[in-house]
């Protein structure tokens, strides 16, 4: 029997993957371990290898298709084996698969190439025309519905019931909450999750969809919101919609950081081959400040505030495709040299799309640096489920008053956004003050 | 001359020559149609009035231009006599867009409303009530026209005949019923289907005049119809005139004529109304042999031209299919 090829679930949060390319065509022979296709998840691009030897019998999806995890996307088997014309759905549904295969074996001797609708109600289901129409437009298989009519005939009422249930059980609690708060019907929302599960983002999108479209704006090109961009969009939307953001700003005298950097530059470079950056120092200082203010190193999961033991600082790296946040684990235990080494490697891997899954996991706090631009301050958005994020602007020579004298000092504006559900203003302010003090007296980092 | 013929004043010498030519037009038209049917160039069915030319030409000659006729399935002669163009008629039989009915009516449905021809009719007896209705219009609107209603011996057994004669009679309508008794309703001989010698006698049942005329005597037909028409025009109600005639051809295209004998056909052919009228006109010096021949050839040529016109005409576009179902 042919072996299923399915969309792997590469992380606990992964619900769908986007197909980037096929390395094999139908009819090509495949060896176990050979890359079969490449996908993009919410975090990374990855090549998926074949689990079985044989021939690629059938591909059900094309490039750019967004496919739920565990969905059967291809079959590998022996030449001339018969497989279904359309994806039988979720892998592991043995009975269904068996049935489909037997049925098609009777009907067909070879794989039909022609394109078919992904959801085709089976012919022998008794259903009213209206029920068929509603099922069709909602991608519901009629044979999954128990009809209330004579001899199990499916009526539109039955389909609607399934729709309501689906919206009920297939919407995240958060999505339900948001939809309720905004009085938005879940039925009208197309879920982006597995099997159309409605995510909070979907609700959020539907809420302000109306206000977004402005026909008077002329566009030069349109790009589908997909892949990483879509993930970012969803994440940001989710954060803004759920976490009440408060942003504190402060101005930090970077004179001593400048000195420290200058002094350590050669030492670090000789070890790592990289120039020590302000960011490295800021990460180190942040890790130090977090260790002194553990409340800022928290995650908010549903109704629980989790104080994290490890202090893992995510570093926002800007790529053409969007933003990616590799993680430097356990910052307080690392010296500037190590931090420099890790940070540069992660950034490089990110740019080459070579990040490993674990290099993207586990951040407890994020630093976003826009100091390379003419940006003084900004309001960063929290990377949920983290509860705070630090944004750093450029370092600028400014007149400041030091000991009753006006002096020109390199200063840097920092912004701390925190999730007010988990953190209140005072502890956040204390943390920011701590950070300011550390950066204005950075030598203690060497202690 | 007038004394000899004793014809109505509107029948001038020229009109007599026209009538002679007209009878040939009718004959040549139907003979041509017969040929084309045989060749398969005309489809459907058709009913020829060869041998009945004097009936059509004579009865209609009695009318004024404002008068109207209703015709039958055997109606080409009536149509020509009422002034229709033979080219447009032929085109209709060819099913061409230039035909009287844009190719949608065919042989049995040619109408020329402008000339007062309210149309042929494919239903035996179907046109009789229509003639009564048209006569009612004439009366109610005081239009002064008379309707000449043609039908055959077969139709005189239809209910519509009896109902219509009665209705026209009680309302005193200006309609003259012309029963062209050509001896056969399809294969049914009139003598077998009607148990009185003269259909004209049925008029008495409805309180109207009934007359019998020789269908090959053009002059008698004109005079008899003329008197009835003018009587009706004067408000004296309808009349029924039975024209005894004979169709030389079969009922329609596929008639083996098993119901009658060659001898009988030959006997009627010998009474040919065209020949008889020609002899009369020559005798009365209206025509010479040469002139008669010339008129006959003109008629023949006109039918040839009609055929050419029809052949060169376009078929109706399929787009016109749904047109004219409703006004």
């Amino acid at each position: 029997m042919a072996n299923e090829v399915f969309m792997p679930k590469l992380s606990s949060t992964m619900e769908t993957g986007t197909l980037l390319q096929w390395f094999k065509e139908e009819g090509d022979s495949v060896e176990t371990g050979e890359p079969l296709f490449e996908i993009m998840t919410d975090k990374i691009n990855i090549e998926v290898e074949a689990y079985d030897d044989g021939v690629l019998l059938k591909k059900y999806y094309d490039i750019d298709d967004e496919i739920p995890v565990n969905q059967i996307i291809a079959y590998v088997g022996q030449q001339d084996e018969v497989v279904p014309d359309t994806s039988p759905g979720i892998s592991g549904n043995e009975i269904n698969e068996e049935k489909e295969l037997n049925e098609s074996a009777v009907e067909e001797t070879s794989v039909r190439i022609e394109e078919q609708s992904k959801v085709e109600p089976s012919e022998d289901v008794r259903a009213t025309p209206a029920a068929r129409r509603v099922a069709r437009s909602n991608n519901i298989l009629l044979n999954e519905i128990s009809g209330s009519g004579p001899k199990g005939r499916v009526h539109v009422k039955d389909v609607n019931q399934v729709l309501i249930q689906r919206n009920d059980s297939r919407a995240t609690p958060l999505a339900k909450k948001v939809s309720k708060a905004h009085q938005v019907s879940l039925e009208s929302i197309n879920g982006s999750g597995v099997n159309g599960k409605v995510m909070k983002n979907d609700v959020a999108k539907s809420i302000d969809r109306v206000s977004r479209v402005d026909p008077s704006i002329q566009t030069s090109q349109k790009r589908k919101l997909s892949g990483m961009r879509k993930v970012i969009a969803d994440r940001m939307q989710e954060s803004v919609n759920t976490a009440p953001h408060v942003t504190l700003t402060s101005e930090i005298d970077m004179k001593k950081v400048q000195e420290l950097r200058k002094n350590l530059m050669k030492v670090v470079e000789s070890h790592t081959g990289n120039r020590l950056s302000y960011t490295d120092i800021i990460i180190k200082a942040t890790g130090e400040a977090l260790s002194r203010h553990p409340a800022m190193n928290a995650s908010l999961n549903d109704d629980e505030i989790v104080l994290n033991n490890s202090i893992n600082v995510g570093l926002a790296v800007s790529l053409d495709e969007g933003l990616i946040v590799p993680v430097i684990q356990d910052v307080p235990s690392k010296g500037l040299r190590e931090i420099n080494d890790h940070a540069k490697r992660l950034a490089k891997n990110a740019r080459n799309q070579k990040l490993q899954e674990d290099q993207l996991k586990g951040a407890t706090f994020t630093v976003s640096n826009l100091g390379m631009y003419a940006v003084d301050a900004f309001t960063p958005i929290i990377n949920l489920p983290q509860t705070a994020i630090l944004g750093t602007g450029r370092i600028q020579e400014k007149p400041v008053v030091v000991d009753q004298e006006i002096e020109v000092r390199p200063t840097m504006a920092v912004s701390l956004s925190f999730d007010h559900r988990a953190i209140d203003g005072a502890p956040a302010a204390a943390f920011l003050t701590e950070l300011k003090q550390i950066l204005e007296n950075p030598y203690e980092l060497l202690a | 001359m007038e004394k000899t013929f004793n014809l109505p004043s509107h029948i001038t010498t020229d009109k007599l020559k026209d009538l002679y030519k007209q009878m040939w037009l009718i004959r040549y038209f139907d003979e041509k149609v017969d040929q084309f049917f045989a060749k398969g160039l005309i489809h459907g069915t058709t009913h020829l009035c060869v041998g009945q030319e004097a009936s059509a030409a004579g009865a209609i000659a009695a009318l004024q231009d404002i008068d109207k006729i209703t015709s039958t399935h055997r109606g080409h002669g009536h149509c020509i006599a009422k002034g229709a163009r033979t080219d447009k008629m032929m085109a209709e039989l060819f099913g061409r867009v230039t035909g009287y009915c844009k190719g949608k009516g065919g042989s049995m449905h040619i109408a020329d409303l402008e000339k007062g021809n309210l149309g042929a009719n494919g239903i035996v007896g179907g046109g009789i009530p229509l003639a009564v209705g048209a006569a009612l219009t004439s009366k109610m609107k005081n239009e002064g026209y008379v309707v000449l209603c043609f039908f055959g011996d077969g139709a005189s057994n239809e209910g519509s005949f009896h109902e219509s004669l009665n209705l026209a009679s009680i309302w005193g309508l200006p309609v003259v019923f012309i029963c062209e008794n050509n001896q056969y309703g399809m294969s049914g001989a009139a003598k077998d289907m009607i148990n009185i010698p003269d259909i004209a006698d049925r008029a008495g049942s409805y309180g109207i005049k009934g007359e019998v005329v020789d269908g090959n005597d053009l002059v008698e037909i004109i005079n008899t119809v003329y008197d009835a028409v003018e009587d009706a025009r004067d408000g004296n109600g309808p009349a029924l005139i039975e024209v005894k005639t004979y169709r030389w051809k079969g009922h329609s295209k596929s008639d083996a004529k098993k119901y009658r004998t060659r001898e009988e056909e030959q006997e009627w052919r010998s009474k040919d109304g065209i020949k008889r009228f020609k002899e009369l006109l020559i005798e009365e010096r209206v025509l010479t042999e040469e002139l008669a021949e010339e008129l006959q050839q003109e008629a023949k040529q006109e039918i040839e031209d009609a055929v050419r016109f029809a052949e060169n005409s376009k078929e109706p576009s399929i787009d016109t299919l749904l047109e004219d179902v409703y006004a």
Binding site: P129, A130, K157 | L130, S160
Partner: protein, 327 residues
Amino acid sequence: MRELTYLEAVREAMSQEMRENNDVFLLGEDIGVYGGAFGVTRGMIEEFGPERIRNTPISESAITGGAVGAALTGMRPILELQFSDFITIAMDQLTNQAAKLRYMYGGKGSVPMVLRTPAGSGTGAAAQHSQSLEAWVAHIPGLKVVQPSTAYDAKGLLKAAIDDDNPVIFYEHKLLYKTKCEVPEEPYTIPIGKADIKRSGGDVTIVATAIMVHRALEAAEKLVKEGIEVEVIDPRTLVPLDEETIVESVKKTGRVVVVHEAVKRGGYGGEIASMIAESEAFDFLDSPIKRLGGLPVPIPYNPKLEKATVPQVDDIVEAVKETIRFK
């Protein structure tokens, strides 16, 4: 506003048209001093005289054909057939003449006539005086078919029918003659081919004609007590049929009951049901299209049997529930 009975509304429409247009006249059996079999024309002969209120002999073929002939030549006759059952005797003139002349003649001529006739059971008049044969005429291209259910509709539609240049068969329901509603005094037209939503509702569409409109409305009142909201559509004209209004309603409700008094087998409800099934409304159907019609028997004399022959209010209630029930 003043109220008129259906019968008075029909009479008023005719009288107003006759005052405006001398070409409009009435013919039929016993329509003179008798006032028509149901009294519709009562008083009209006194106003318009026997020339324009033409009492006819019992000759349905001749009077129908007479109306056709009069219409073809410039009149606008209104023909009253005493009982719609008698349309059988007029059928040749309607089907083969009135409906076809214009098309057969290639778009020449028109037949602006109205044939008014009372239809339906409920009077105890038994098999030959109680039928609803509207499907017969609805089948014929060239005829228009109107079936008003209220006095208001009857007046407006009859004016439209008289003004129409085509033969219009205008069905009046005997049991509706005495029904009343508000009817404006001034003449007005309801376009032929426009359905009327007699009641709005979202659960089930009932398409009902003539008397069944009222029974459907009664049924709707009963059903609303059970929480079922019925939409009642009265097509008002069968030909042309306002398909859009019906389709839109079915798209809204997903369920439809078609009800008429005529025998269900071969009845016009089959046409309406098929039209729905072929339309975009198909995809909105959530239960089979339900048809209600008369049983396939001649209308019996006994009142209990007669009532059982044609759909009653409770039958409609039951049919609606059946379309809603899943089992």
